[in-house]
Symmetry: D2
Subunit: 333 residues, 4 copies
Amino acid sequence: MRFFSDNAAPVHPSVMAAMADANVLDTAYDGDGWSKQLDARFSDLFETPVRALWVPSGTAANCLALAALCPPHGAIVCHRDAHIQNDEAGAPEFYTHGAKLLLAEGEGAKLAPETIAAVLDATRNDVHQVQPHAISITNATEYGLVYSPNDVAAIGHLARERGLGLHMDGARFANAVAHLGCAPADVTWRAGVDALSFGFVKNGGMSAEALIFFKPELAAATLYRRKRAGLLLSKGRYLAAQLLAMLDGNLWLDLARGANAGAALLAQAAGDRLVNPVEANEVFLRVTAAEAEKLRALGFDFYDWGPGEARLVISWNQRPEDIRPLADAIATL
Amino acid sequence: MRFFSDNAAPVHPSVMAAMADANVLDTAYDGDGWSKQLDARFSDLFETPVRALWVPSGTAANCLALAALCPPHGAIVCHRDAHIQNDEAGAPEFYTHGAKLLLAEGEGAKLAPETIAAVLDATRNDVHQVQPHAISITNATEYGLVYSPNDVAAIGHLARERGLGLHMDGARFANAVAHLGCAPADVTWRAGVDALSFGFVKNGGMSAEALIFFKPELAAATLYRRKRAGLLLSKGRYLAAQLLAMLDGNLWLDLARGANAGAALLAQAAGDRLVNPVEANEVFLRVTAAEAEKLRALGFDFYDWGPGEARLVISWNQRPEDIRPLADAIATL
Amino acid sequence: MRFFSDNAAPVHPSVMAAMADANVLDTAYDGDGWSKQLDARFSDLFETPVRALWVPSGTAANCLALAALCPPHGAIVCHRDAHIQNDEAGAPEFYTHGAKLLLAEGEGAKLAPETIAAVLDATRNDVHQVQPHAISITNATEYGLVYSPNDVAAIGHLARERGLGLHMDGARFANAVAHLGCAPADVTWRAGVDALSFGFVKNGGMSAEALIFFKPELAAATLYRRKRAGLLLSKGRYLAAQLLAMLDGNLWLDLARGANAGAALLAQAAGDRLVNPVEANEVFLRVTAAEAEKLRALGFDFYDWGPGEARLVISWNQRPEDIRPLADAIATL
Amino acid sequence: MRFFSDNAAPVHPSVMAAMADANVLDTAYDGDGWSKQLDARFSDLFETPVRALWVPSGTAANCLALAALCPPHGAIVCHRDAHIQNDEAGAPEFYTHGAKLLLAEGEGAKLAPETIAAVLDATRNDVHQVQPHAISITNATEYGLVYSPNDVAAIGHLARERGLGLHMDGARFANAVAHLGCAPADVTWRAGVDALSFGFVKNGGMSAEALIFFKPELAAATLYRRKRAGLLLSKGRYLAAQLLAMLDGNLWLDLARGANAGAALLAQAAGDRLVNPVEANEVFLRVTAAEAEKLRALGFDFYDWGPGEARLVISWNQRPEDIRPLADAIATL
């Protein structure tokens, strides 16, 4: 059983079915009937008028958002362990034409107003230094922690105070919302978020993420940037259909709840071995090399995550009965 | 019946089936079993070792190829009517970091060594002018003309002579090969092409094009550029599966032959109204506004293409019986 | 005697003297006493509040202006023969991060509302095409023609109507104003110009051009771009001093009048040989190869400018007695 | 007396005289007689064939060097306190089209193979992470420390081993060489340096730095980049003349020795207050706010440098008798 990555999981049958339903002639790019529903459907979900654009990858969503919030000569504050800093091959710099990422601290890849302000205050306000224009936070974080509405609002307050845009990388936004039990609005625009990368691929989608602008005027130039980056797929209806299928009946939330529950099973078994509290679908364990070996010998696959640590990720399609054997194995290490 | 664009057509059932077959757990990005077959399968098709990368759009394929062939301070010669110049929103400039497109002439959007050389010779060889590093041709062209192996070889010869790379935008490469009846190798690397954007989406695919490097060493930096552009989808197996399905039993060629045959039906009916010879799946007609109106009143949809011209595109799924009514209507205008 | 280029001329003694006067300790970058005078002095000259920045080259001035007026995904309309298109090695694309130059027509490298509108109207207003954001004109043009206040106002009107910025490349702005006899304001902001590259180097300066923003708010981001491009020289006072010396007593205008008068001498001698009317300090002649050879044998140096044409440029330091021998030689060809 | 910055100092009389001597007609850009001497003169100085280009600022020199050594999708390792990271407004990202700076540690802004290797080893070798292509060190460092030939050679060895280019920011290279007493070759190419930003402006020049390529083939594309960045001044002879004047009779070295000697005077007076050993022309002192105030009250100006620290910089034109009063004031604090 593989616990490497939620990217390795298959696509949910409802998503596959929706793509089959969309397999008819319609207008190219985003002129089709599916794409045209996105703004309304996501506006409903977020209880406010939003612009919602499909994009084929989370990196694309993140970097289009950053390009909308930061000029080439500006900087974006993010966590030292952020995906945009470490795992996107310099895509933020590509999309922003060379903006700088300024790295802030925080346990479990989670930022706080204080650690962000420390970075902001270290920048002199003169033309010799790159000036911050935006903050980017990841919810859930790279270490599976979740920002609450209050956590985000505190950062949103700082952003407004300093005149900065606020982006949320929500590659696992569904898992965060499932954990919080709040309205999606509470942890985004009501807390000051301007743009959200709303991830679906890790949560049962195939090739569509949603880029949500809570300030709809940010979408205008983004439409050009999306095309200019080769991201405006000609048969866009198959991407829109995926997103709509995930929204139907709140499938996105159900799947995330399931994955979170699986992670909770492991967390319970892991006890003191946990590196961080488990709040989403990722579990970081302290294990010796011998223990990791032992788990692998039992047929469980996962990534080593730094010395003495392992990362286990639960996917939408792993049921409790799939996970319990690993939980048991951990408990009896 | 719509003759707007082959991008409006649905996806071929075999492609849909292949994606369903790929709907299992596998390694993320391009580490899966499908993606790993691409090099070998395309090398077979082209009778030489190639590197083959999936990308989600033709614009992405074109622009990654151009970035591999031209530095930021260089220029690419293309036709004044090329897709990369007119319909990609500046993506070539984005991917190359500002390389210049130098525009050459030719009937039917088709270049010849003479018209390319005219552009090359107009550039002084000093640091004040942007120096050409590559040529890009489109086969079939934006006006449905096809470069033969000899046509390409003549341009390939010029490219080598001047030390330039040669890219082929093959958004409708299948239609070109179907028309020529040659080996794919004959009209590409044997004729001097370094990189090919091999289109599948207009020809029955959903969201996967192939970027083919005949100089495999060009792929190395491209792998980084693909990721850096947000084009390395995390569930890449669904893209690779599309390409493999199109290669199986030469489905790509069969579908293109069908579309070309449909266009030939219209061409026969159109006679003197043809703006260009019909060699692929596009038909450009001379029609008055009143005639265009008349055709539309009969239920046929298509684009006006400049004053007094209409563009009709045949898709892979349009059968002769779908097309004949339009042919008859044109014949009796 | 050399008539190659006004860039080959030496520096005016007053400029050298001003630099010697500035050779004292002062604050680095543009914090010095000379740099601080620029806004006021140029505001006086232009009879309106402007922001004036020194930059070390005309290319830098042009491209910072373009970057202030056009986003990376936008386009700039300019003449096919514009310096920014042909002689700046792709600097506009570098500074704008890949904006496109759209090329318009016009005799003597001079644009008109009609030729600009032809380019604008050829662009579809959709995300697949790069949208125009600015117009750039050159006064005097690359062929020595001068836009009058009315000429510029007509283009300025078009720019406003279409929501475009208007840049003037004034590498030979002094020669244009000297020809027109108008106030500098008349041919710039009063006619709709947003940003001016005000050239001094060809006119007796050494290494300082002025970038003038008639919309002062455009300067804010430009200050960052200037530094980010390595153009904010640490001893900026020597550049500011050059500009101030040129403004003192309208030296810039006197020098341009002198060069224009020299060109007029040649124009009179050339008669029917003139390719264009001579309005500034450049003279384009029709000469056979044999005639060109004959002039060179007499000791006159100049550039061939296309087949059967020669370009003669008069510099600020060439007196009538320096020029008359060439005028005589031309008259007796 | 001001000890703010060596950028505030005037220009050496010999440099002014050389510019006056160059004030004649000559070919534009770098086609003049002065520019053409640079390769030979710097090759003599470095005892090996080099390519030497004038550029108008140190930022320009640094960033052209980095662009020659690192592709847009690559990374450059530098010190956390490096000028390229903190004081060039993102110019490295602009010139490299978005390459990343990876920040390494070391006392006094000085890198060592171990601290560089720590950064290199933290980068996974896959397409998701930006791969290092170059190392940049500053000699003398931002805190006035000097890399010896052995220090550089150790880093050069690491660079070769890992396949990385090596750049030296020599804004105060003269001060480093003056301190070391070695041949310039010893601390550059013999130790593995590929490109050097050789600073002259802080050391008595006006507006010319030299960019030295020890691998001459790196110059070819740089010539285009220099023009494309608006850095190829049309009257380049005045920049070349400055450099040649500084080389004549080793003026550059004499001036640096003088400034270093001045700093040594202060160092002696400062004793335990020194933050770092004083090896070049900068002195970093521990002073309380009250002490700093006291020094300022005596007429000495300088920058605060973090809490409880002050930076004093000695310029080429400050004589011992100018400095001694400050030394005395420090000694009696």
